[in-house]
């Protein structure tokens, strides 16, 4: 029974890596979006495993529910019939592979000398007692009120920007 968390982590880590590889290698963008939907659900379960149930809910609602639907709309809006006949990667893809392997190797090497810092006040028992959403909300509306206001401004800019960019040019003359 003591192996259960490791088994759980092993399944989800393997699934997340395989699904992200599928996302970037599929030829049809609709298939990529569908694999990404599955990937986001796996990442949400990983958050649940780490006692972050509110973040898991946001992951499903915002990422899977809003962002991916937006992606799907755009993929279906654009007519991508020639997509299936052309190459999926640019000619110099080994360079990209080298860069990504270098990034992974440097992170893995830096991890050898990593030491965890001092622990904070929010133990698992405390968060379970006051519930995760309430603890997060209290922190968000007191200590992080200013970033919260800035986030609302970012969303406003996104709304205006999306309308301005995507609307058809008016024929003025």
């Amino acid at each position: 029974m003591t192996m259960l968390p490791q088994l759980f982590f092993g399944y989800f880590a393997a699934a997340i890596i395989i699904l992200s590889l599928l996302v970037i290698t599929r030829k049809n963008p609709v298939h990529s979006v569908m694999w990404m939907l599955l990937l986001f659900f796996h990442i949400a379960s990983m958050y649940l495993f780490l006692n972050a149930e509110f973040i898991a809910a946001i992951q499903v609602i915002v990422y899977a529910g809003a962002i991916l639907v937006l992606f799907l709309f755009v993929v279906l809006l654009l007519n991508l019939k020639d997509e299936l006949e052309t190459d999926r990667f640019i000619g110099s893809w080994p360079v990209g592979m080298l860069v990504s392997i270098a990034i992974f190797a440097s992170v893995a090497a830096a991890m050898q000398s990593f030491v965890l810092g001092q622990k904070g006040n929010f133990t698992v028992e405390l968060v379970q007692r006051v519930t995760h959403t309430k603890a997060l909300g209290k922190l968000l509306y007191t200590e992080y009120l200013f970033p919260f206001e800035i986030a609302s401004l970012i969303l406003l800019i996104a709304v205006i920007g999306a309308i301005v960019l995507a609307k058809k040019r008016m024929r003025s003359h």
Partner: protein, 100 residues
């Protein structure tokens, strides 16, 4: 108990896959999805740090990252639609107007 390093390695792996997709795919929509992949990789490591340090600030950071990702996705997809309307392609190697 799963060690923290496993989560960090998973996060690094997903991030590198995202970098690979961003650098090598021709389709700009898939490049955009690679950016989302990288953001998710960072989110995994933030939540793992937050759990092992018994602090909720990492969760708040993830909250803000998801907000910014939503804004970024809407603006980026609007740019892609405008680009497709003007150039009639989504392949980045066929767009070279900004070359000096």
């Amino acid at each position: 108990m799963v060690p923290l390093n496993w989560y960090l390695l998973l996060s690094a792996a997903v991030f590198s896959i995202g970098v690979f997709g961003f650098l090598t795919r021709r389709n700009i929509i898939i490049m955009f999805m690679s950016i989302e992949l990288m953001l998710n990789a960072v989110n995994i490591s933030l939540i793992a740090f937050s759990h092992y340090l018994q602090d909720l600030r990492g969760h708040l950071l993830v909250f803000f990252i998801i907000t910014v990702a939503a804004a970024e996705a809407s603006i980026g997809l609007a740019i892609i639609i405008a680009l497709f309307r003007n150039k009639n392609t989504v392949h980045v190697d066929e767009m070279h107007e900004m070359k000096g």
